[in-house]
């Protein structure tokens, strides 16, 4: 659940999402759920001419399973904190396994 929590800290930030079919969408991250489905507001589709069906879309729900990358604002990511959280989670998992 670490990445779910991580994405929750990024709500209301502007992110760019690249889908597995190469569409890139920039928008405000409105919410995320346990499957990492993502809701974006004020969407802006890069290379819109290639995807005319998305021209009048204002907000969208993207299924987590089709996302390839999420590009995040560098300033909003505390890498140190994320590393610590990862190790804590790993330690918890190891504790549970025993």
């Amino acid at each position: 659940m670490l990445f779910f929590s991580f994405f929750k800290t990024l709500t209301n930030q502007t992110v760019t999402i690249e889908l597995k079919n190469d569409i890139r969408i920039r928008g405000t991250l409105k919410s995320v759920d346990q499957y990492l489905n993502i809701k974006l507001d004020d969407v802006d589709v890069l290379d819109l001419d290639k995807y005319p069906h998305l021209s009048s879309v204002k907000n969208m729900f993207i299924r987590g399973s089709v996302v390839r990358y999420v590009v995040l604002p560098r300033s909003e990511v505390d890498v140190g904190l994320l590393e610590d959280a990862t190790r804590r989670e790993a330690a918890n998992q190891a504790g549970k396994a025993r």
């Binding site: 779910f4 597995k20 919410s31 759920d33 346990q34 069906h53 204002k58 729900f61 299924r63």
Partner: protein
């Protein structure tokens, strides 16, 4: 609220464009859904795109299994008729034939690329799952 249900709740009864994994674009009103993003769309129209043309096909009610959903976009009703000038409406027949030709070309290209990749010891990208 951070659940699938909460995310889909504000899209209920709105006019949406649904893009499926096989590349189909459906435009309709979202009436029902569940936690897997299984969806029911009403008054659905399938919009077929090929080259710089498009055509609409009336379809009716759709129940879509969640795994086939790529994305769901709410249509801005004030801007819905402002299609980019690069696409023009045409007859179904015309768009369908053009689309078939495009598909054939794409399949041929994919086959060639996959053959070459396999020769180099690579498995092609999304070989298990097709995405458009």
């Amino acid at each position: 609220m951070f659940t699938t249900a909460a995310q889909l709740l504000d899209l209920t009864d709105k006019k949406l464009v649904l893009v499926l994994r096989d590349g189909r674009k459906l435009i309709g009103v979202l009436r029902s859904w569940d936690q897997f993003a299984n969806l029911v769309l009403q008054d659905t129209v399938e919009r077929l795109y090929a080259g710089n043309l498009y055509a609409d096909i009336p379809r009716g009610i759709f129940l879509v299994r969640g795994e086939n959903v790529l994305l769901l976009g709410e249509i801005d009703l004030d801007r819905e008729d402002e299609l980019p000038t690069t696409v023009q409406r045409a007859s179904f027949q015309e768009v369908f034939e053009l689309k078939q030709k495009e598909e054939e070309r794409r399949k041929g290209n994919d086959k060639k690329r996959h053959g070459k990749l396999r020769g180099l010891g690579f498995e092609a990208e999304h070989s298990g799952e097709i995405l458009f």
